[in-house]
């Protein structure tokens, strides 16, 4: 979650943009240094872990 300026983003566009930019720069820095196959593996895992569904009443592996 990225915090908004007090009273909501519509009150202060500049500060909101500055906060979002900081988040993006920080995240980019983490992501661009990671090898691409590792990144994709993690992305896959992130969505894989979000939920499992039952097949024939049994949990899949």
């Amino acid at each position: 979650m990225i915090e908004e300026p007090l009273g909501g983003a519509h009150r202060d566009h500049h500060q909101m943009a500055a906060r979002l930019k900081m988040y993006l720069l920080r995240t980019l820095q983490q992501l661009v240094t990671e090898p691409i196959d590792q990144l994709l593996e993690k992305r896959y895992g992130k969505y894989r872990r979000q939920g499992v569904f039952l097949e024939n009443g049994e949990l899949p592996e």
């Binding site: 979650m1 990225i2 915090e3 908004e4 007090l6 009273g7 909501g8 983003a9 519509h10 009150r11 202060d12 566009h13 500049h14 909101m16 943009a17 500055a18 979002l20 930019k21 988040y23 993006l24 720069l25 995240t27 980019l28 992501l31 661009v32 990671e34 691409i36 990144l39 994709l40 993690k42 992305r43 896959y44 895992g45 992130k46 969505y47 872990r49």
Partner: protein, 261 residues
């Protein structure tokens, strides 16, 4: 920024206090008493804003997320990026104005920016279908994202849509299939992807550009499987129950579990 017009009823006490403060500031009285009064009023205003905005319920959050003066993709393009070159068209049907795509520079990083645009004026809003993208928009986004991956450019997606456009033309041109393909391709696109919900994160319309390594949400934005009105329409056969639906959907950023990754 100048005081925004009153669009949210729960902001009324804030706007009233702001009015009082600006009256005081406009007066020529520069005695110590007046200065102290102004300081007290400012303190009161900050406390009031903090209180109101920390206690927003689900429906109020939805209304803040939809605020007309809330910054949109084009605002962020102007305020955050040094350069922006827009890329148009999906090489198939047309150029969807509800999704903006282009190369941009964020400090030292060259990135591809993808973002929904709702429009500010009525004219622009009509062009953008109020932020509801058509298949050509999602196809455009995917095509340019592939291009970004080819040049090893990270992708940044700014999500702000009530949902994908539900019209006949959109369905005829394969809305659902296009969104599914985007999710499929984005899940393995060989370049970093960061998604941020900047306003409304409505359902498939959001997911179509919403798969990435990191997904962030702004504090007063919402992300939901369906818009509150749509949910109310299905469950209670009337959009009037949108408020109840918003609460039941648990759609605000507060309801999110922190990611473990």
């Amino acid at each position: 920024m100048a005081s925004p017009s009153l669009q949210l009823d729960f902001e009324k006490p804030i706007v009233e206090l702001e009015g009082k403060l600006s009256q005081l500031e406009a007066s020529t009285d520069d005695s110590a008493e007046a200065a102290e009064q102004k300081r007290a009023l400012r303190r009161e205003l900050t406390a009031l804003r903090k209180k109101i905005y920390s206690e927003l319920d689900a429906w109020q959050t939805v209304r803040v997320a939809r605020h007309q003066e809330r910054p949109m993709t084009t605002d962020y393009i102007q305020l955050m990026f040094d350069e922006f070159v827009e890329l148009h068209g999906d090489r198939f049907f047309g150029d969807d104005r509800a999704i903006r795509v282009g190369f941009a520079k964020l400090d030292k990083y060259k990135v591809l920016l993808v973002g929904h645009q709702k429009g500010k004026t009525l004219e622009e809003r009509k062009q953008c279908y109020f932020g509801c993208a058509h298949p050509e928009g999602y196809r455009k986004a995917l095509g340019k994202m592939r291009l970004a991956a080819k040049y090893n450019l990270p992708v940044i997606c700014l999500i702000d849509t009530p949902g994908a456009y539900p019209g006949i033309g959109a369905e005829e041109r394969g809305q659902a299939q296009v969104i599914a393909e985007n999710m499929f391709e984005m899940s393995r696109l060989p370049t970093p992807i960061i998604c941020v919900v900047i306003g409304e994160g409505g359902s498939g319309g959001a997911l179509g550009i919403g798969v990435g390594d990191r997904v962030g949400v702004l504090q007063h934005s919402y992300y939901s499987v369906i818009s509150p009105e749509g949910c109310a329409g299905i469950l209670w056969k009337s959009g009037e129950y949108a408020e109840q639906a918003a609460t039941a959907l648990r759609l605000s950023a507060k309801d999110w579990k922190p990611s473990t990754t």
